[in-house]
Symmetry: C2
Subunit: 233 residues, 2 copies
């Protein structure tokens, strides 16, 4: 059994897609602009991995997710011909990522898991984003750990090993919980335990199931309640 669980956040704990679509719709109504908000939400999210890649390869200096989200947003709004927004409005919209709603099982599942394990975030989201999100959504973290603390985005090894080190644990005493096989494989590669949680609607209604090898991860769960059952808490 691990001593602590580190959770990927976007997609694993919170439903970024529905939340961002709702925020964009609200934004459109407030400013009297129309748009294909689901498509814009997907493009906003899909700009994120390439932007992080530019940081990971050193093309950009360390840049927190808030600022990467803003770079992508500015491009999307320009491409959609939406202009003349105030800086306050843009900043509020960009901080939609601080206001993501959890999956229905997240708060109850984390609360159960917290009874037996130290539970922390291990997200590429910056500390203030994760802190504001948790406060609004009632996510009961024991602590808030972010790639920002290491200056290395996942899947760089420094993020996983840095998390274990901050918690005073050996890598094998820490388990990453994530909905993304690539994240889990990188964690496993540096010695962490792994738990895959299936989030079939992360990318919308018609998403193909991820391809996993049999027994590839230490645990495979349908949601956080199932994971709590399997971990005996």
């Amino acid at each position: 059994m691990p001593k602590a669980l580190a959770f990927d956040v976007f997609g694993t704990v919170v439903d970024w897609r529905s939340s961002i679509i709702a925020e964009l719709e609200k934004f459109g109504r407030r400013h009297g602009v129309d748009g294909d908000w689901p498509a814009m939400a997907d493009r906003w999210r899909s700009g994120y991995a390439p932007a992080m890649h530019r940081v990971r390869t050193g093309e950009l200096p360390w840049t927190r997710i808030d600022d990467l989200h803003r770079m992508i947003l500015d491009e999307l709004l320009a491409a959609a011909g939406i202009s003349s927004l105030s800086e306050d409005d843009l900043d509020h919209l960009n901080r939609a990522w601080h206001r993501l709603d959890p999956w229905p099982d997240s708060v109850e599942g984390l609360t159960r898991l917290k009874n037996k394990f130290v539970i922390t975030t291990l997200s590429n989201g910056n500390v203030s984003l994760l802190t504001n999100m948790a406060k609004r959504a009632g996510l009961p973290w024991d602590c808030v750990i972010s790639a920002e603390l290491f200056g290395h985005y996942k899947p760089d090894p420094e993020a996983y090993l840095g998390c274990a080190d901050l918690l005073g644990l050996r890598p094998e005493e820490l388990m990453l919980v994530a909905a993304h096989p690539s994240d889990l494989r990188a964690a496993r590669g540096v010695g962490l335990q792994t738990a895959f949680v299936y989030r079939p609607r992360e990318y919308g209604p018609d998403q193909p199931p991820p391809r996993l090898d049999d027994g590839e991860f230490d645990f495979t769960a349908t949601d956080f309640l199932d994971l709590a059952d399997q971990l005996g808490t």
Copy 2:
């Protein structure tokens, strides 16, 4: 009004002295050794500032508090002629600093303050110490920020400014809450707001009151409930 409150922990949130004396007494009973446990608690604590000073001046590389506590403990036990303890026993005793009890008003006061502000630790204690302490004592932090994240102990400016930066705030939007004027003066020197909380029994029963200039800090409170009253929450 600040947007977030950062709390010094040892002495401000938790009663380290009574807790450490109780842990040393328990240790003595378990191992059948006698000692002047209050004096040893005070010496353990008083070894901490000089040890941090060696890190701050570069004489020692970055060393977390757990390891500084252990260096001091080993010297104290040797001086007291207490030997032949197992590594597990020594580690358990050293982690007494992860098991400190809060002052009677701390949990209720923090819970009230959390309704209006982001509340975080800003302690020289390492992340795992602060996380374990909070979990055991029920301290409801929104996030756990430590000098360890910056490689700089308070009162180095990097600790105060780093905390504001992680929270996405300007220094003047953050308020340090502490029982120690020297900590508050360093925070004020780099632009933070300050709240002094009087903890008359931190160092035991006969402690002289600290000397403060009139109006030196933005708030002066008798405990966290008084601070919550003054901050309107």
